[in-house]
Amino acid sequence: MTSVEVRGLIGRRSVTFLAAIVVIILAIGPLTFISPYGLSVIFFLLTFASLAQSYDIVGGLTGYINLGHIAFFAVGVYSFGALMNAGLGPALSFILAIPVVALFAAAVSIPFLRLRGFYFAVAMLALVGLLDLIVRSTALTSITGGFSGIKIATQNNQLPSYYLALALTVITTVSVYLIRKSKFGRGLLSIREDEQIAEVWGVNTALYKRLALIISAIFAGFAGEVYLWFLTITTPRALFGLDITFRPITIALLGGTGSVIGPLIGSALFAIIDQGLIAQVSYFSRGVIGIIFLLVGLAAPGGIVGLAKTKIARRLVIRKPALVVTGKPEKS
């Protein structure tokens, strides 16, 4: 209810216009005014924005809290790395790693989507632990690099991977927007509201959930590929450490889950927290994330977007009701 009113007031066109300006600035930035340090900061911001956005396809639309979303990211990292090291070029590796991630997600969905609510959340977290064990194991060291991590040939990929991350963020965001508009997206939302009723009304909930998980995994996996291409080396410790594991969900929830713009706002906000606070108290980075969780959970499960919506809606609806009525007649 409130979201419709607010959206009507701000105007979708102005949001699109603003987004286009931001994308153009980010696109010409590295060629003109952004320093290499700034480039890496924005690269991580974009990568984690698209990761959080992809999280929200399952977490925001279906309401299934996926604490193990980083698993798909990691499968993207490792399959891309393995393909690169097998001698395929970057282009081919980028493309061929996608079906690997999709198949992994499809396989995961068979047992894990039988769980709901808390159980799904914890089981997905457990999967991350298992994946960590698998990539570290001595049996697979020749492919995964074991403890010391996966490494690809060092080249200067920073600029192209920056543009890939930018493109990925735009594509993921547009896809989430289109999914929300579609019949498929409405089906997913109906699962979030009440899965049993959705099923009674003819939504193929099992298929929808599986598709949502696979789509979400593909975007996350691609983010992983771009991540490795930029860094050229990453370790299980970095990937499966709790601060990275919970980053997509932290960002999505900080910004506001279930809204297209939320993960983007969350990502920008998290980058500020990361640079300003976590970099200062690096020994307490997990604790800082924990405190963010506590505060968001207690005060604002809708994140920044949720807070803003209630604030704006309250001001406009209660104080100046006439504004709401123009253009968008209220439904009773």
Partner: protein, 296 residues
């Protein structure tokens, strides 16, 4: 470990680890059934209980003979912590609509877990801590060709007593009956005069004191480390899925099964994989039971 009689040794170890898993899973499970919240910080409560037991048992400031008393006092202390945790952090979430309450409770309990982990890592270091039988001043005894630390036998006895106490408490006491009534039908129970908020709070207290028991046993049998809280929470979930949620006996059986699977796989395959056993069991159970043992 002396391999005089590996089979007996394996059985004893399985029972010990399984017993700890059973007790901690029970604490995790009753809170879920009564309060409706999966406490993701539960494993961290276990770990912190173990850390405190370690600090007491290795402290020079406390006279040797009084140390066990202080360790036992941890159990009511943790119960009080659980009551406060429920009152301050969990109670405000319960009045929200279900979808929000789910998200908020995951955030709040996970956030608390991360804060606990990082505080510990900063205050006491990231190394795992354990208490040996010698430092407890207890002998290592030989019994029918089996060499075993006396502390482990004490732990086993303690596990059995705690399980029996818990079983009787849930079956016979008023609070236990109220807990079971709420887990069967919340509305009907409140109609019949069960005080829901009070029972929820007491259940949280009981669950958290079981975490302290688990932690104390774990630091004697194995070791505790700042970052093994979340894996322990995952194991508690696997135990519940494995044992079923029908009764209080389910988690007991599930706990022993998981403990045995870990000990046996560590002995016959490779200890490296034992942290992953819980997940593998979870996947297998979910694949074999197409409807899911738990569909909610």
């Amino acid at each position: 470990m002396v391999a005089a009689s590996p089979l007996a040794e394996l059985v004893l170890n399985s029972l010990l680890l399984g017993g700890i898993y059973a007790l901690t899973s029970l604490g995790f499970f009753i809170v879920f059934r009564v309060v409706g919240i999966l406490n993701l910080a539960y494993g961290d409560f276990v770990m912190v209980g173990g850390l405190f037991a370690y600090l007491i048992l290795t402290s020079d400031a406390i006279p040797f003979a009084i140390r066990p008393v202080f360790v036992i006092l941890l159990i009511p202390l943790f119960a009080a912590v659980g009551l406060a945790f429920e009152r301050i952090l969990i109670r405000p979430l319960l009045s929200k609509p279900p979808a929000d309450a789910l998200l908020s409770s995951v955030l709040v309990t996970l956030g608390f877990s991360l804060v606990l982990q990082d505080s510990w890592a900063n205050l006491f270091g990231t190394l795992s801590k354990s208490v040996t039988s010698e430092s407890l001043g207890l002998p290592i005894i030989t019994f029918a060709g089996l060499t075993v630390a006396f502390s482990r036998l004490l732990a086993l006895i303690f596990i059995v007593i705690a399980s029996i106490f818990l079983f009787v408490f849930v079956k016979k006491s008023y609070i236990g009956k109220a807990m079971r009534a709420i887990s069967q039908d919340k509305e009907a129970a409140t109609f019949l005069g069960v005080n829901l908020p009070r029972t929820s709070m007491l259940t949280f207290g009981l669950g958290t004191s079981l975490a302290a028991v688990g932690g104390i046993l774990l630091v004697i049998i194995q070791s505790v480390a700042p970052f093994s809280g979340l894996p322990l929470t995952v194991k508690a979930l696997a135990v519940i899925v494995l044992g079923g949620t029908g009764s209080i006996v389910g988690p007991l059986i599930g706990g022993i099964a998981l403990g045995s699977a870990e000990i046996l796989s560590a002995f016959y395959i490779d200890p490296y994989w034992s942290p992953g056993i819980a997940v593998i069991i979870l996947v297998i159970v979910l694949l074999l039971r197409p409807t899911g043992l738990l569909s909610r």
